[in-house]
Structures are given as C-alpha cells and as structure tokens.
Amino acid sequence: MTFGERIDQLIYLFNNFDFARYALLVGVLIAFCSSLLGVTLVLRRLSFIGSGLSHVSFGSTTIVAAIAMIIGVESFQNNFFFVLPITILCSIWLLLSGPNSKIKGDSALAMLSVGSLAVGYLFMNIFPKSANVAADICTVLFGSTAILTLGSKQWLVWLCVGLSVLVSAMFLLFYNKIFAITFDEDFASATGIKAKTYNAILAIIIAVIIVLAMNLVGALLVSALVVFPALTAMRVFKSFKAVTICSVIVSVFCSTIGILLSAMYDNLPLGSVIVAVNLAVFILFAFAGLAARRKKA
C-alpha cells in the first residue's frame, strides 16, 4: 500500500467506525490528563508513580479475581470498583509521605511497584483465568495492542470523558496551590496552607487517572505519558505555567500522531508508537534547549 492509500484507509476508518473515533478521543483525553499531573509528579521525584500504581492495580486485580474464584462468584469482570480504592490508598500514602519519611519516595515507589507485580503474577499463576498467562501479563504491561480494543470498552470511554472534565476543572481551580505545595511544601504549611489536604486530593486524582489509563493503554504507556511531556517541556521553558501548557500540547500532539500511525499501519502497536513519538519530540526539544542556551552564552 502506498502512503496515499493508507491515508484514505485512515479517513475511511474514522468516518465509518465509532470505535476508531472513541479510541482517538480516549487517547487524547488520557494524554491530556496525565500531562497535566506529570509536571508536579516529575518535580516531586515521583516520575515512576504511573508504573507503580498501575502495578498495584494489576496486583489487586489478580487478588480480587482469585478471591472471586475461591468463593465461587462467576464472571467477576467488573472489578474496577474494588481496584480503584486500593490504588487510591497507595497513591495517598506515596504523596503524603514527604521527604522526612523513613522510606523515601523513590524506594517506596519501587517497593510497591515490584512487590505488587510479583504478588499479582503469583496469584495469576496459582489461579489462572486463561491458559496463556504470558499473554495476560503482556496486556497489562502494554495495554491494548491495537486501536480496535482501545475504543471497544464503551463505558470506560464515557467514564474517561467525565473524569477528564473533572480533572481539568480541579487542576485549574487548584493550580496556584499545586504550584506552591510542589515548590515548597514546608513554606506552604507554615504560612497556613492545608498542604496535606491538597496533597490528598491530588493523590486521588492521580490514582483515578492511572487506573483508568492502565485499563486503556497499559502500565508502560502510563509512565511514559506522565514523564515524557513534562521533561520535554522543561528542556525549553522556564516558568511553571509555560511548562504546564507546553507539556499538555506536546502530550496531546504525540498521542494523536501515535494513534493515527498505529491505525495506518497494522504492524505498529499503539502504546509503543506513542512512546516512540514522545521520545523523538523529547530529543528535538533537548537540542532546541541546548541551542538556545548556547546562543545566550
């Protein structure tokens, strides 16, 4: 197929199929939300929270499934509402345990991440849901491999739309507070800002987004969507506002390109393409930032 034919195929796909439009919508919304939260997470040294929390949600999924199997509840598909509270608790724990805690943020994250992945895999092997455990694991890590599956869980799509609106509204309302507690939590607390409350709110938003995103795009991509846009924007921009705006634009742009590419070429897995596009843009921005600094000096 030539490039032109592939473009035609793409237009045909989006004109005629709901799932394709849903997939694009979901991809863009998740990219948007995760990049909004990405800046504060990267600056708090919690870049890996996406990965960590999605492993927690994986671990709790398998445990919930195993319990369901033991007590004999058939077709226990809708475990979303059991997994979410557990993930929220872990998220709050990570964000509230500041720099003075006994186990520091990065090691707490690593412990949680590896621990829940291992427990999850263990349970998956003891109580196998399907014959192919390796394939199940692959889905957890890489999410939907094709655009078809991304747009097929319709109730998740609408939940995603609703939560995205909520997250953007919260972010806008708490923007100045998020800045203050990220830059200097002690100063904020000392001058009478309820930093712990705002941190807890932030933790809940993050957990919700990550559980949602993991179900749709997989654990690996979640981390990439949190980390890459923020780091990319920081290469070039110098103020918190500019970095936030730029990272949102970069994130939405990269995800759109990635989804379209994956729809055009059958052999391009969705998640990896989006990460690859993000990586390319990061390298571009890194050089641009370097050039700008050279020029100044």
């Binding site: 100045n176 203050a180 002690d186 100063f187 000392a190």
Partner: protein, 232 residues
C-alpha cells in the same frame, strides 16, 4: 507587645526529645538570633515554632494580633528547587497564597504586593527569569520576597546566608536589618544562624541552645558579657 511566647517547650523527632524545657518570648520589633551547633536542635525548634511539627510538651502561644497565617518563613533550599522550572514572579506570588482562602486565583492587590516586595528586594529586573538559573544570593532574595508576601509581622529565617559568598552574605544581613528597622514597619525577625559575629552585630536578642537545653537567653549586649565571662 508580645508576638510569640514559648512555655516549657520540648521539641524533637519520633518521640525523642532534642531540646527540652525551653521558655522564651519574642516581642514585636525584636530581632532574635538562635545560635547553636549542628544537631543542637535549631531547625527542629524552628519547625516546631512554625507548627510543621507539634511540640512534645509545653506550648507556643501567638501574642495579640498575630494569627498562624501571618508568619513568613525563609526555609533552607530543598533538592526539588534545584531544577524547578519557575519564574521569580511565580515564586514570589506564591507567598500571597495564604490570603486567598478558597479563591483559586490571585487578585490585583496580591499581584501589586508581589511587585512591591520584588522592588523592595531589588529583584524586579529578574521577575521573568527562571529561579533555578539565579545565583544563590538572588535566590535567597526571591524567597525573602515570597516570605514578605505572606506577612509583614514576623519572619522566621533558617540560615539565610548558608552557601552565600561574603558579599552576598553582607547584603543579606543589611536587607534583613532594613526590614527589622522601625522606619520600614519593624518586622520581627527570628533567625537561625552559625554566624556569631554577625548575630552580635545585627540581632537585638540572642538565644543559645546546646546539649538539649537553653544555654543563654538575653540581649546581644548581655551575650557579649556572657561570652567574655566564659572565656576568662
């Protein structure tokens, strides 16, 4: 008028007292310097005064006309701030946040206040510069401007000259003395320091702590006699 009164205050970490039975008070317009060696509990004391930690026993009372959100604080630099993308204006403005309550954005008056404080500390020309690219002295001025946005009544400074070169250190002390000057509103100062010479030069009162207790509490003049007496 008393701003801050500590009564038999014991402060520490994880149930372990680092400094015990501390009683002192700070009056409006005072310039109090807390001296002590590393690990003597200076920072713990300050965190307790700021209510970032709760006192293990004893009490801290805010005097008349001072409420908890009228404290300005100049903390030591944190690791996070070293690569934080924020303009000087954004950092200074964030000091106004305690006046916002639930209002999500800053109003004109707060933006005006931030501009005035930047002017006062001579960093207006840096307003759009990135905080992490500034020199140590400029960063401290930025954080001091932020603290001034939070209050004009009392400032708590945690080693404000740590890591500064001699020129910037001298400038910093002059700035702080200027803020404490009655003609500029007489902001009360509580400062943690290692620097005994400058403490005796600028502070009105000195608190010396060590070995878990209060060693000296009095005016700067009395302190020089105390030190002289100990030496002879």
């Amino acid at each position: 008028m008393e701003h801050l009164i500590c009564n038999n205050l014991t402060a520490g970490y994880d149930g372990k007292a680092i400094i015990a039975d501390l009683s002192f008070s700070v009056n409006a317009g005072d310039y109090l310097c807390i001296l002590g060696e590393n690990g003597s509990g200076k920072s713990t004391l300050m965190k307790t005064l700021l209510r970032l930690k709760s006192p293990m026993s004893g009490e801290i009372t805010m005097g008349s006309g001072l409420s908890a959100n009228e404290i300005g604080y100049l903390p030591q630099q944190t690791v996070v701030q070293k690569d934080f993308p924020a303009s000087v204006r954004e950092v200074v403005l964030s000091g106004c946040l305690n006046g916002c309550g639930l209002r999500p954005f800053y109003n004109k008056k707060e933006k005006q206040l931030a501009s005035e404080n930047m002017e006062k500390l001579g960093i207006t020309n840096l307003a759009n510069r990135c905080y992490r690219e500034l020199s140590g002295g400029q960063q401290q001025r930025t954080l001091l401007a932020r603290a001034l946005c939070a209050t004009r009544k009392i400032l708590l400074l945690d080693e404000p000259t740590a890591g500064l070169d001699p020129t910037s250190t001298a400038e910093m002390y002059e700035l702080i003395a200027g803020l404490n000057d009655k003609r500029n509103g007489g902001t009360s100062i509580i400062m943690i320091s290692h620097d005994i010479a400058n403490a005796m030069k600028y502070a009105s009162h000195i608190l010396l702590i060590g070995s878990g207790k209060l060693l000296f509490n009095g005016t700067a003049a009395e302190y020089s006699q105390f030190v002289g007496g100990a030496a002879s």
